[in-house]
């Protein structure tokens, strides 16, 4: 709502040359602006419309230009890869494995962390075996970090980690399949799924 309110301010001042330098000019502009605003109020009764001066509009434009992310459509999902599997997290025997295109990780024990890179914007879900991994499920600790790989101030990718106690979730001598599935937010026919088989010692 805030962004829209500001945009309306910019549009009205930009289109109609609203200027507060002289009182008479303001009055003249107000006469021209009022019908447009009344029209907008009628069409969109839920909107809050605020007039801004040219100086304020310039400041708002600058703020919008410097604001961080999500200007324009979200980049489509283009790639997902399982980056690393770490076992015995937080101990002196912590080992990390770069996964690449492998289908099976090293045999794990203790707390395990899985890192997944998601390039583009997707709606993602993850599972360990048949169990869905969610923020609400306290057996799993989920983290997410943002990546801007071309320094244009737009988030290009998300790095996800999930941490869990493998001694509780995977029986000794067996394996569990971890699955990360993401569907592109703006190209919903585009779904990418990656899996890794995780054996327990």
């Amino acid at each position: 709502m805030k962004k829209y309110l500001l945009a309306v301010g910019i549009l009205t001042s930009g289109f109609l040359g609203l200027n507060t330098a002289e009182a008479s000019e303001v009055e003249k502009d107000m006469i021209e602006v009022n019908p447009l605003i009344e029209n907008l109020k009628t069409k969109h009764p839920g909107w809050t419309i605020t007039l801004v001066t040219s100086d304020e509009a310039a400041k708002i434009k600058e703020e919008v230009n410097n604001s961080p992310v999500l200007r324009g459509p979200a980049p489509p999902l283009t790639s997902v890869y399982i980056d690393q599997v770490i076992s015995q997290v937080g101990t002196i025997n912590e080992y990390s494995e770069d996964i690449g295109l492998q289908q099976t990780s090293h045999a794990v024990s203790g707390t395990v962390l899985i890192g997944v890179m998601e390039v583009g914007y997707g709606n993602d879900n993850q599972w360990l075996g048949d169990e869905r991994i969610t923020y609400q499920n306290r057996d799993y600790k989920i983290n997410e970090a943002t990546v801007d790989f071309n320094n244009d101030k737009i988030i290009d990718a998300f790095y996800h980690t999930v941490t869990f106690n493998s001694d509780l979730k995977i029986s000794s001598g067996t394996s569990a399949l971890y699955k990360f599935r993401s569907t592109s937010q703006n190209s919903p026919w585009n779904t990418i799924e990656r899996t890794i088989n995780i054996p327990h010692l």
């Binding site: 961080p68 980056d83 690393q84 912590e94 990390s96 983290n143």
Partner: protein, 113 residues
């Protein structure tokens, strides 16, 4: 006081998302031993920069991008601390070069189907 497990998660994200290579020792083709304890002690106790040439801090643009996810609340102070100690040159950007390898592979794959 941050637990060892939480510090491990942070170090894992620094490696995976931003390509940080510190406090790991390669022990196999794709295997690395991680010394989270030493990383934690350095972050919490170091008084002097480890590498003066890498002393740096996050730009306002980098901060805004990091704030795009909840982890930004701890990544921003952690990365600034690492920049203060010269553990990571934040001016070089925050991206794991590995991402380009997989993006180009996936683009080629998508074009071929």
């Amino acid at each position: 006081m941050v637990s060892m497990e939480d510090m491990s998660i942070k170090l894992a994200i620094l490696r995976g998302a931003y390509g940080y290579k510190g406090f790991t020792e390669q022990v196999g083709e794709n295997m690395y031993k991680v010394d989270t304890k030493a990383f934690k002690e350095t972050i919490e106790n170091a008084k002097e920069p480890i590498d003066q040439s890498k002393v740096s801090k996050l730009s306002s643009d980098q901060i805004k991008v990091l704030q795009g996810a909840p982890s930004g609340s701890w990544l921003i102070p952690l990365l600034n601390r690492m920049g203060q100690l010269g553990m990571m040159d934040l001016r070089e950007g925050l991206v794991n070069p590995k991402i380009f390898q997989y993006t180009s592979t996936m683009n080629a794959y998508n074009r071929s189907i």
